[in-house]
Point group: D3
Chain length 327, copies 6
């Protein structure tokens, strides 16, 4: 059965579909006749939008409803200062019976295809035996790989969708390879590529991958993906025999400094060529995607100028490119 999407719900529509809970509140009735009684007000959502939901009969709720639960809901849409879905019946859906793609945006490219690209690059570009073994350790960690393929690269600004981390990682690797072409014989290429692959590894623990809204985990907020990632790589390096201390230091420095400036969250600025290159490649990938995502949102509006984007600090003009690409 195909999914009923929020954007298609109108006053009078009968509903039977899965929605994720974005917010939940227990409220007391304001009418004195119901004094002391309560009802439940929800915000329900899917990938197409959100709608208010109401459970008048609190006794239906036998175990607490929490944000991020997915509910199968039956009911009908009526109008009270806008449409609201009055719920007759609902049931919680188990986590592994959920089709995440109904609730979360995802990368256009297929994760498996992207993963293969990554493996190919590793075997061709990372000739150093210790770095190669380190990557092998990571690629053999099945749980970690699955997270890597699913994780977003951000919560709000760029590559903020399922598979975004992997897509972003591939872009960064690609730009790094271009830099080794522009300046041949200057780079330790295996080191640069390994750093590019691992630079955002901590993001698999920064975001709660079970959540449908890419919530940051407590450790994500308190430590940040940079410190988490350095810790993860340190543990993996221990499993590689005779990993050179210098190489370890060089790699840790790259991950640590890849935000480029202290005010952007790197405790030290890049001080080696590979770290400096990685920072700029990361910036290029992130910023270009950020701009493209603002353009894509705007293309739906058919206007020449996007709304003000507070992350880019500007409005974006799409008046030229549309017509040029039509040719």
């Amino acid at each position: 059965m195909s999914k009923q999407y929020v954007k298609d719900l109108k006053v009078g529509t009968r509903v039977q579909a899965q929605f994720v809970v974005a917010d939940v509140k227990e409220l007391s009735f304001s009418a004195p006749s119901k004094s002391g009684e309560y009802f439940i007000k929800l915000v329900l959502g899917d990938i197409s939008g959100t709608i208010k939901g109401i459970i008048w009969d609190r006794s239906m709720v036998t175990e607490p409803i929490r944000p991020d639960d997915v509910l199968l809901v039956s009911g009908e849409v009526n109008d009270y200062y806008g449409p609201q879905l009055v719920i007759n019946y609902y049931q919680k859906i188990e986590r592994n019976n959920i089709n995440r793609y109904h609730f979360q945006p995802s990368c256009e490219r297929d994760p498996r295809e992207m993963w293969c690209s990554l493996l190919r690059l590793t075997s061709s570009d990372v000739s150093d035996p210790h770095l190669n073994k380190l990557l092998q350790q990571i690629f053999d960690d099945q749980l970690l790989v699955e997270s890597f393929m699913m994780a977003p690269a951000g919560k709000t600004i760029h590559h903020n969708y399922l598979g975004g981390l992997l897509e972003h990682t591939l872009e960064v690797v690609d730009v790094c390879r271009k830099l080794t072409e522009l300046h041949p014989a200057k780079f330790n290429k295996p080191l640069l590529i390994t750093g590019a692959i691992l630079h955002d590894l901590g993001k698999v623990e920064e975001y709660d991958l079970d959540s449908f809204t890419f919530q940051q985990t407590d450790s994500g907020r308190l430590l940040g993906h940079i410190s988490i990632g350095v810790g993860m790589v340190r543990e993996k390096i221990k499993q590689v025999a005779d990993f050179p201390a210098d190489l370890k230091l060089a790699l840790e420095h790259m991950i640590l400094s890849h935000h480029g400036e202290k005010e952007w969250g790197s405790p030290e600025v890049p001080q080696t060529l590979e770290a400096f290159a990685l920072f700029h490649a990361d910036l290029l990938s992130a910023r270009m995607k950020q701009f493209l995502q603002v353009m894509d949102q705007n293309n739906e509006n058919e206007a020449n100028w996007s709304d003000w984007d507070r992350f880019l600090g500007r409005r974006v003009f799409t008046g030229f490119t549309n017509e040029e690409n039509d040719k």
Copy 2:
């Protein structure tokens, strides 16, 4: 005859060689016996360094010596609080009899070979007829082309040598092409490549190409290469029949905004995809070269850490890369 370089001059060396005048002062003798008499104190230089020069006999100087003059000098090095070259005879060398490579650093790559690359890229990537004609107008301007091949891309920070502008331009074009591969079908590629080729065109007038120290011209300082460049492109566009107004606006915007932020000298920030991409490609080329130049200077010192570089705001570590590249 091979050139005698400043770095090889010792106390006692007899000298006959060309040097460029870096500084010139007329000083009165402090001894009362020579009260009212004057001598000339010069700073003379070539690509290898600078040395003090003295002309005791002011009557030798029949027409004023100015900074940036190249002199053929005869004399001997003696010691007065350090080595100084006492000049017996000199003669001004005419501008077109000078081998600039004795006095100015230059790009490792051959300008002619780089220019051919640029022409190749233009014909393959700039399919749009109006943009193509515009570039043709510029490439047919022999004087402009010669300046473009010789100009530096900067005075102090990056690509600051003969041919630097051309080398930098090629790097920017190359990164822009990579971006069109990363995001196919998003870019107006002919526009992006044309903007990349022309973004720093104004630098041919920002620097006094006749000077040996890449002095900025008055208009370079008062207008800046961005405004100069926009003006040059406007004039060239007039010579292309029916150049579309939209394309003109898009191209002017790219040149105007390619410094990316107002505080970096762009009166407007990039608001189109091509302008945004150009800014980031320019940044990448400039910053990587800046880092590499600091590394190269340091490699001569054989230390693991460079001196503090005030433009990068850091010291640079070269301890790893050296050994890695030895393999």
Copy 3:
């Protein structure tokens, strides 16, 4: 017939008047009985305020209604979560049959009287023949003069009304003349006054003078009035025989640098006395007007303190001045 103003419309009022369209949306009815049908929701305005407008019968709309259209509207005000004007009939008014003063704020001073002042100042202060001829070229361009007399000097912050550009220009000229009195024999006065007259010339193309809300044009946003203005002056200078290169450079530098700092949009900072003076005169005129406009808005509230003004970054106290001026 005198105009009915928005501020006077109450529930029950019958309306027949011209309003400008500030916003327009086509919405679907939420009631299932009208499923698939649409109505039009407008925001209508004039100089006194805005009101919601509704066209229930979409078939009335034979050609699209767009923002900035002026409509002659018949209908009645009713109440639906606040007053709304239900429209029975409307008709688009042609652009040249519109009285702009019903829809846009305007300068207190008469444009023609201000223009005469400007001409007087030019003939008395701009004694240099080339500068004088340049101004003549501009004053003889009838279209340009009309735009200059009508344009605002800003969209939101200061002199943001019809005739604002001219009023602001006169203030800047006046302060510049005061500076020549304070420091006699220091200034090139003809240059300073010419720069003052032309510094914001680009604003006639930065704002869409046909719009009732001083919308920026595409080129206004992508190039900014500084670059537009420099381009306009360059073209006009070509029409003056033997215009000295130095004078051209000096004038271009003044226009280019009159925002004073790079982060305020000037690609170069003022480096000549006249450019430096122009920047400070411009600042003084703009900032004083900005403060006075906040005070004027507040005087209507009869409170001692204005609301927080985000452009000034403060609240403004009017408790003293009112009483002092009463005397």
Copy 4:
């Protein structure tokens, strides 16, 4: 007898002239034969420059020599790594026998003439009786008036010479009057002019007027002229019967806020029209003078570009104005 100036001293010159002590050090002889013995090394100066001075015979010094002492010195200039004045005899000059104009730069305008201008303005513009009496209190304080006429307006940046405070104050008053012309009926003119006259009053205590180098006093550094000035005005106001509380608050606010921004040393930003106008008038006077002083220094060099001025944050171009003013 005319003064011998430092700039005219050469090796061999016999000297008998007054100099101010800029620095003084007691040094031990490094030669072992004089082990345990000491000599005195001075820096001596006047308005034309500084020279090293030596007293070999320490027994000549019967009471300590301190910076800012003026000495009548006899001796001869010899050469030891540059010229030095070997002193045979000296005597301290009493403070009131010194011609300050030999040692300190001073305003071009005559202080007495400037003071008359100020009195004239006060009687014409400050019609309010309380403000008028307040100014009278200040003008009747003979000691204060003398300091006001002599004090500089700054130590290094602008109006940094004898009489500079008075000159600057007159300029600020003049610009304020221009503002009342531009915006008639908006200002409380007596308040604005009084505030302009008193805004920098605290500077008479910020600088040690007895010093030849405009040293800041301890209270000048620890409190600043703004807080000192507010305190001085508060005391004077007490001596005016029935001075209105509102007027006192308005005036204190103007002095307190006249630096315009917290980071420039005003504990509150200007929040009234008169305070806002005063800030901008002060800025205009200070900045224009700052620019003109850099130009004047440069005119001595006969170059088109000044050296980098760290206070202005730029080099200044004088290539145009010179030739223009020649006409």
Copy 5:
């Protein structure tokens, strides 16, 4: 009779209680039948929250109702887009018959007990006779003492409740004493403690202590508590015979500079040890309380993370501390 609190009012509740007026507006009826008639819309509040209040019958209002008035109100709560209290009768309560603790938050500690602590510290730590007499002058000023005990230390950010100034002052004194322990023999302890006691004295005039919302007074906004406080201390010092000038300067500097940086409102930065210590002690007390107040607000929500706090610039995590303190 116990107070009825806003948080307990529901639709249908009959009300008779005191509320403070937070806002008042006179509105015209929108129905044409009541054209030309007006009603009064209030916002009423107490320490527990706010509610809308309506007076339909304007004739009840015989003298104007103003913000900050306290009214005894009779009426009933009904529902119109949320609960509103329809008022049948009201009467203004005189200022000194009001229990402020019903309307304003207050410090947990008893003001009298805190005041005793302050007196104790003064007698033990302020051994210097002049400083001791100065404090005595202040403590003997009964009106001032009462204000000191009641005033808040801030409007929104920290210690923003009745008694907050005194609580904050005690914390600052306490930290200063700790610093004298850490660095014995470095501090002038009597000076440090006196400065700590008096540093925020100006706040008793910065806030309108009669208001229930800690409104700033006009002089509070135009002068700030720093300048007010310096003025108050200057006046009190005059009443102490032979108060040393140095000590006066040292104390004024401490008050003036205790915000630490110019951009935080201190016209001079701390330049003495005691001023520097006071600044840091003040910062520590203010910042810790600010953090604790955000935590306390969050503890009511039972969530692990607080909302974004714009003053702290972060969300605050309370997940750990709760459980740790349970033990």
Copy 6:
């Protein structure tokens, strides 16, 4: 034998003493008669200053002299543009035969006594069994403890001497304890004290403790003490059975965020009460010591004002405190 100090060396002094090598260069003779021959120029130092040293006879140098070597030197001081020590004989001193206190400044307090204080505080304040065991792990690591007792807390700004880290740590612990007194029942005290003890642990690896000039190590520069410290604590935690994950996260967050702001090198800002308190306690200790060290340097000059201190951004006034403490 007592040490001969650099500050006591005069022209003619015969020298036999240990000095540390601050700099070493091999130079060619400039005289043509010695063409192709080399001599060694050193900078030698101890805690009292530095002096130039010369080894004319290069053959004396059988193994390379490097910075930070300590040499026993015989020779005599002569004069060549200032004093220089001509070396007849030297011998390298082994690392463990060196009295570091001749070459490096050290804390006034005895390290052993300070260590005992730390142990005492731990046993009284860190009641939590896991934290207690963690500290035990660290205190049992003999090598680590020795480094902790010797390390400085900084290179240039504060506590930059032997034992500085320990002294600073104790101050931070002390301020943290004061905070728990000010806000009883709010803190997890064992966590706060443990974090205070460990917050700068990484500094034992940030500085090369073998160096006499507190050089940063490569990892100190590339990773920083924050990341190093987090890694060290992570390793130690592994050795404590069942260390709670929450406690680990809380502690890591404290170390990571203790610089308080991203631009000061903390990748995340403090988000828990204990982390926030630690940051402010650290700041207080560091800043007070920084100020006191500037004062101490100045006390040697006997002036009222220190030189400009670029780290504090001000000059420091010591005019008051000296006299006050004399009493």
